[in-house]
Amino acid sequence: MDNTFITGKLKTRFTEGILYVNEHEDMLTVVVAREVIHEVIRFLKENESLGFTFLTTLCGIHYPDQELQLGVVYHLHRFSDNTRIRIKTFLPLGNPVVPTVTDLFSGANWMERETFDFYGILFDGHPNLKRILNVEYLDYFPMRKEYTLEDPTREDKDNRFFGR
């Protein structure tokens, strides 16, 4: 099964929802609107001719220069012929809500918590959306590109140890 078949299937089913398709190093990248992201992943998993039954990974990304700054990237895998596909969706910084895929892939649970932890992306319908790696009292999302490399507001550093 080649990538044009997958692209054709997705474009027929979702038309306007598919925003951008690109193929890099034989791996298909599809950018979809957030309104259809859950249906796209369900379609890729449950459609008999597609059958992407494994969620390899899920992560967040922040492009501060874009209008829709925050993104969620899903990597799906079909075992039968080792095909992989990358699905992206972008969200505005002011309203970073995306439907959860924990109902389709249980393994998405901790990945979505990690993405929430570092980027503040809210997964609507997630059973337990709280911080997973960082301390509970952290009041910001550290992987967002909102901070200078050296944060001048931090008070926990001892200048003596850094030659300052």
Binding site: L133, N134, V135, L138, P142, D151, D156, K157, D158, F161
Partner: protein
Amino acid sequence: MSTSNYIKVDPPEGYSSPGLFATTFDKVVGLARKNSIWPLPFATSCCGIEFMATMGAHYDLGRFGAERLSFSPRQADLLMVMGTIAKKMAPVVQQIYVQMAEPRWVIAVGACAASGGIFDTYSVLQGIDRIVPVDVYVPGCPPRPEQIIDGFMKVQELVGKESLRRRYSKEYKDLLESYGIR
């Protein structure tokens, strides 16, 4: 008389004559304590690997009476923190310190335990002295076993010279209070 080559320690300062040796109680207790320290290794990263070499036959921390590691804080005398401590792990380190019985000592092995080291970042504790009082700092990234042994011998010096009343002093209580430890 057998010619075994066990290590004897020097007697403390005191007055001796045939059949008599007089010294202070502090010094006798200090001598006993400093040559039988039970360390609790809290090894989180590469400094812990150096500590394994330190405990091994080649460097042999047993020569200093410290071959008996205590993996329970209740019986430990010396907390050896070796490696990066993330902020999320800070309360764990502090709880282990609280669970240790007095008298207790702490050694921060390596740049990370002493100051956060290269991990100048939001998730790493910038030195364990922010959560527990530290007696000896061992520099290095990671330190060689010789340096760890040097740091350990500095702890022995402190243990040997400690006054029996120190832990009841107001200064010591204030120190613990400043860390929020009771």
